[in-house]
Symmetry: C4
Subunit: 123 residues, 4 copies
C-alpha cells in the first residue's frame, strides 16, 4: 500500500484559552493535532512551537504507532516545557515516516462550544 501523507506539516494558528465551561476533559478548551499514521512502521514525530516574541520551544516528541492515530492535545505537551495559555503560537510537525495532520480547536470559553478544523499545510 502506498504511503499516505508527507513528513512535514505546519499549523500557523494556535491558542489555548485559560478558561472554559462544561465537563472536563471533553469540554475543556483544547487545541489538537490529529496525526494519522497509515504506514506499517511507527512514526517518530517532533513538534516545534513558534511564538510572537521568543525563540521556538521543543521539540516535543510523540510516537504514533504503525496503523494508528494519535489525537495529540497541545494542552498535554509538557516536556521540555508546558504550552503557555492565552498566548498565540504556531507549530511545525516533522515525522520520519509519512503522516497526515489535521488541526482542531474546541473553544469552550462561553456557554456553547465553537469548533474549528483544517487539514494542516503539507510542506
Amino acid at each position: 500500500m502506498t504511503a499516505v501523507g508527507t513528513t512535514t506539516w505546519a499549523i500557523p494558528e494556535g491558542y489555548i484559552p485559560s478558561g472554559g465551561t462544561g465537563p472536563e476533559p471533553e469540554m475543556l478548551s483544547h487545541e489538537t493535532a490529529c496525526i494519522l499514521n497509515a504506514a506499517d512502521e511507527d512514526a517518530h514525530v517532533e513538534i516545534t512551537l513558534y511564538f510572537a516574541d521568543r525563540e521556538p520551544a521543543g521539540p516535543y516528541r510523540v510516537t504514533v504507532p504503525a496503523r494508528r492515530t494519535v489525537h495529540q492535545r497541545f494542552n498535554d505537551l509538557t516536556d521540555p516545557e508546558p504550552v503557555p495559555r492565552d498566548t498565540p503560537y504556531a507549530s511545525v510537525i516533522r515525522s520520519d515516516v509519512p503522516v497526515v495532520v489535521q488541526h482542531t480547536r474546541l473553544d469552550s470559553r462561553q456557554a456553547e462550544n465553537a469548533l474549528l478544523s483544517t487539514i494542516a499545510h503539507p510542506t
Copy 2:
C-alpha cells in the same frame, strides 16, 4: 471533461459524541464524509478506520454513482462493524475513480450546534 479530484484521501480527525440535543436526524451529532463523483462512471469507495489502540476496521464499502454526491455519515457505517462512539478515530478513503472528499462535523452535545469542515487531504 477532465477528472475532478484524486483516488486517495485522508481525514485524521474523527469523533462521534454519544449524546446530542435537538431534533433528529438533522441535529444528531454526526461526522460526515461528503464525496463528490463528477465522473461519468460509478465510484467504488472503500473507507478504512484507524484508532489509537487497536488494529484498523473496514473496509466499509460505499458506491457513489456517476455524476452524484454521497454525504456519508460515519454514524451510519455498520458493516463490518459499527463505528464506536466517544472514541477518536481517523479515516482513509480510497476510490477506483477520482473523487473529492470534504469532512464535516455537527456537534450537538450542547444546546447550540458547532460545525467544523475541511477538505480532506488528497494523497
Copy 3:
C-alpha cells in the same frame, strides 16, 4: 504579476437549511462560494451542482470582474433553477481565468450561529 489560483474547484459539501433565526439577510442560513479574481481580466465562472439522486443542475453563470471578489450565495442562484433547500448537494466551479475559491456556511437554525469554512479543492 503571476496568476493566483487555478481554473477548476470542487466543494463536496453543500446544504441550505430551510429555516433560520436572526435578522436577514446577514443572519439567514446561507452557503457561500467566495471567489477571488486577482487577475487583470474578468473571470467567467460556471457552477455545476451535483445531487444524491438526480442529474446535475446548471451551469449557473457568475462574472467576477478583474481585481474583484464575489461572495456568491448559493441561496441566490436561480437560473436555470433555484437550489433546493434541505437537500445535500456538491459543486464544481470552473473559470476561464485562474481564481481562488473558499466555501463558507453560516448555520442559523438554532439561536446561536455556527460557521464552517474551507478552501475548496483545486483540481
Copy 4:
C-alpha cells in the same frame, strides 16, 4: 532545515462584522491571518485586499521576524487605510521568504461565538 511554506497565499473569504458581544479584545469579532515564518531570516509580507465594487487596497506591510509567528488581525490594519466593516473582501498575501498562512474568524455578533478556520490557498 528546508523551507516551510511558500511565498504567495490567497484568502477569498473576508468579513469583519461591526458589532460583537463579550469582553474585548479577545471576544471582539475579528478576522486573523496567522502567519508562520519558520525560516532563519525575517519575512517582509505585503497584504492586498480585494473588494466587490472598488479597486484593491494596500499593500499593507507586516514583518514576521525569523522563527516567529504573527497572528495579524485584519481589524488592526490601518495603513494605507482601515479595513471597512460589514463589507466582503478577499486578500492576497505575498512574502519575500516562504511562510505558511492560516485564516481564522471569531464571530461574536451573537451571545455565543462561532469560529471558522482554514489553511489559506498556496499559489
